[in-house]
Amino acid sequence: MGNLAADASAAHPVLALDGITKTFPGVKALDSVRLHLFPGEVTALIGENGAGKSTVVKTLTGIYQPDSGQILMDGQPVQFPTAQSAADAGVTAIHQETVLFEELSVAENIYIGHAPRGAFKMIDRRKMRDDAARILTSIGAKIDPMVRLKDLGIASRHLVAIARALSIDARVVIMDEPTAALSQKEIEELYELVDHLKAQGKAILFISHKFDEIFRIADRWTVFRDGQFIGEGLMSEVDESDLVRRMVGRSVDQIYPKRAAVIGNEVLKVVGYSHATEFEDINFTLNRGEILGFYGLVGAGRSEFMQSLIGITRPTKGVTRVGGDICVIRSPADAVDAGIVYVPEDRGKQGAILDMPIFQNVTLPSLGRTSKNGFTRMAEEFALARTYTQRLDLRAASLDTPVGSLSGGNQQKVVIAKWLATKPRVIILDEPTKGIDIGSKAAVHDFMSELAAQGLSVIMVSSEIPEIMGMSDRVIVMREGRIAAELSGDALSPETLVRHAAGITAKGEAA
């Protein structure tokens, strides 16, 4: 599919990966992949969550060591045993998670590890401050280099991370979903910045989920799927559906087996939910057998609202009615009693207890049912755990292996099984398929519609438009802590979702 031979004659890649394989316990993150980055060009790395993009970034920046395969710079094999060695070789990354230091100043965050030195190898703080100010100005960021990072907002922190990457005189710049936390205006500024870097002859690896971005900015594409190299080529020779097909490996309607469920009476009604800083005036109802999608950009306040709904944070005002009765939820334990359960986005930190065995994870909120007079009963626990994990088609060696040894998709199945075992009326799934392999993803979607068909009410928070479109009966769009729109039927289209989420009016201007 790719026309690699033709490209190679035109320009030599600055950086190439050849047959890189990286295995983690239970999952082959990269399976003999290749990748080519050319000077003055932007290569988009495209793949679903779990395709291996982050692992590639970590391999290129010296965080992970590949099990086999070669990294080539200018055709010569190199090794990056540490993050420092990758930086020294001229590879720098703007990471997906902000990896910065709250307590240090902006200038120090930009220069830590390579600060300008003066006499006696002392850090030249004045030069560091001036250089930082210059870089920040060059990317149009109005940030005082001397303030501490913890006093900055998320978007500003991201600009600091970009400034840090630029402060290293890099030949290869990796941008791992750099626009996730930025506003439309900031994204435009980032595009200008990328053009600027291209003009300087830097090779750029651009990782993004957003196809409009990729078509706006990239010169080349490379697709990974499930840790494998699928193909590469020039952007000018493909269209969006080509890329989607390569990325997903099958057409979209196959992935979302949404069954028609009979939507029944109102189960949950939320009135006037507000919080001092995170969200305001949230109103909606949820019916029996319904899948209600919550769409929005990262940071729109969806997770914050959901966590407040199940009693982790307190709203300043607002009423929850479950089955018509007012329900006061002050803690997750109250929420479980009321039949509302929440499958959090951060599986490792909030969802599963990784070092505990599968069966103990599943029975944790249901111990009241499996125990007798407060004493645990193993046979009951194994039986309950087996019932629910088998329904989800969990793949595991045994029920007493730690959840941490499973793949991401199977971990998610354990977390969902844990909540289904409590026999809830409402299940909230926050980014349920983030970072899991395609097979598990389909299983989760399949199961979600089965649950709805059985009469369970589902709230699905998702940032993936195909998932929202494919699974939801109705969609609520949130923006900056408020409900921006409620869409269903013909009003529900990718364009309207994006427009409401980004706050773009019909004229195409930002609100």
Binding site: P332, G351, D355, G374, F382, Q390, L394, S398, D400
Partner: protein, 343 residues
């Protein structure tokens, strides 16, 4: 509310009929797992020390001598049980020895005021409980790190004892009070040893066989996920601080009774020996794993080492080298071995 096994949803009989492939409960039988465990390795060490001791000194294999030897660890082990649960839950209490001092001082005051044994004992236990509550409130309500809080209360509690007693001492506890630290319930079984044995069973059951014990593990492994799972994390931790305080109060009763007097310097350094006992027993200092049988064996190991070296006229301070080396060694050796095997 409990649901009987006839619940069609998950009874052992019907569970296999649902869709999906069957996942076995366990791959390794519990027996095999037990044999391969830290506890059995530790038991081997204990037996080894026992044999070594019996060769080293002719006085060792004597029922009364062995009974005496148990006093080396019984009081500390009482606290170690509660401390084990606290450490598994991801917290620590370094103020336990100071609680003993304060509880002992409070008992001394009651004794001076003319109260008899039941009131003295109740005061000791109550003081321990109040101190535990103080630690617990600071940690769970104000969200302070327990290591700093209890370093603070360690000074505060013992400091109050010093304010009350200065360089003086309380003496003259009633005759009946001596039963706790000097009495025997049956033949060579001392009161303290009996209390230790009962507590070992109670704590073992609570940690390994109850919902509360499961919650303790869950909180220690991942407090956030436990909270999301509907476990009242603050309440679990509060109960554990109260228990640790109560056990320190109980240890104060036994120790004061055994010594027959109270000085503000009583039980100095106990906190470190208790923590050592817990860590030696295989409890992860970072929380989340460990067992009560491990702590019981660790208590015997420490008692046997101290007693054996004592029989050989080795001074106490040198024993502390052995204890310190044991503490580091038992954790370092398996890790060194792993490194060595990986090459």
């Amino acid at each position: 509310m409990t649901i009987t096994t006839t619940d069609p949803d998950y009874s052992p009989k019907t569970a296999t009929t649902t869709a999906g492939r069957r996942i076995p409960d366990r791959l390794t039988p519990p027996m095999v797992r037990a044999i391969k465990s830290w506890e059995s390795l530790l038991l081997l060490v204990a037996v080894g020390i026992f044999i070594l001791n019996s060769f080293a000194s002719p006085y060792f294999l004597d029922a009364w001598n062995l009974s005496d030897a148990t006093f080396n660890f019984t009081e500390k082990a009482m606290i170690a049980f509660a401390m084990a649960l606290l450490i598994i839950a991801g917290e620590i209490d370094l103020s336990v020895a100071a609680i003993i001092a304060l509880a002992s001082t409070a008992m001394g005051l009651m004794m001076q005021a003319g109260f008899d044994t039941p009131m003295i004992v109740a005061t000791g236990l109550m003081t321990g409980l109040i101190c535990g509550a103080f630690n617990g409130v600071l940690v769970t309500r104000l969200g302070l790190p327990s290591i700093v809080v209890t370093i603070g209360t360690m000074s505060l509690f013992r400091g109050i004892s010093y304010i009350v007693l200065g360089d003086g001492a309380f003496r003259g506890y009633p005759e009946s009070f001596s039963w706790f630290g000097q009495g025997y319930v049956f033949w060579v079984i001392s009161t303290e040893l009996a209390i230790f044995a009962i507590l070992a069973v109670i704590y073992g059951v609570v940690l390994h066989k109850t919902n509360f014990g499961r919650a303790v593990y869950a909180v220690g492994n991942n407090a956030t996920a436990a909270m999301f799972s509907g476990i009242r994390v603050a309440r679990v931790k509060m109960i554990l601080f109260l228990l640790t305080g109560l056990m320190s109060g109980l240890a104060a009763v036994c120790l004061t009774s055994r010594l027959g007097s109270t000085r503000p310097s009583i039980a100095t350094g106990f906190e470190l020996e208790v923590v050592t006992m817990v860590v030696l027993g295989g409890i992860n200092i970072l929380g989340g794993s460990g067992s009560i049988p491990g702590v019981v064996i660790a208590a015997f190991v420490m008692g046997l080492v101290t007693f054996g070296l004592g029989l050989l006229n080795v001074p106490g301070i040198v024993m502390s080298i052995v204890i310190g080396a044991l503490l580091i060694g038992v954790i370092a050796l398996p890790r060194l071995w792993q490194k060595f095997r990986r090459g």
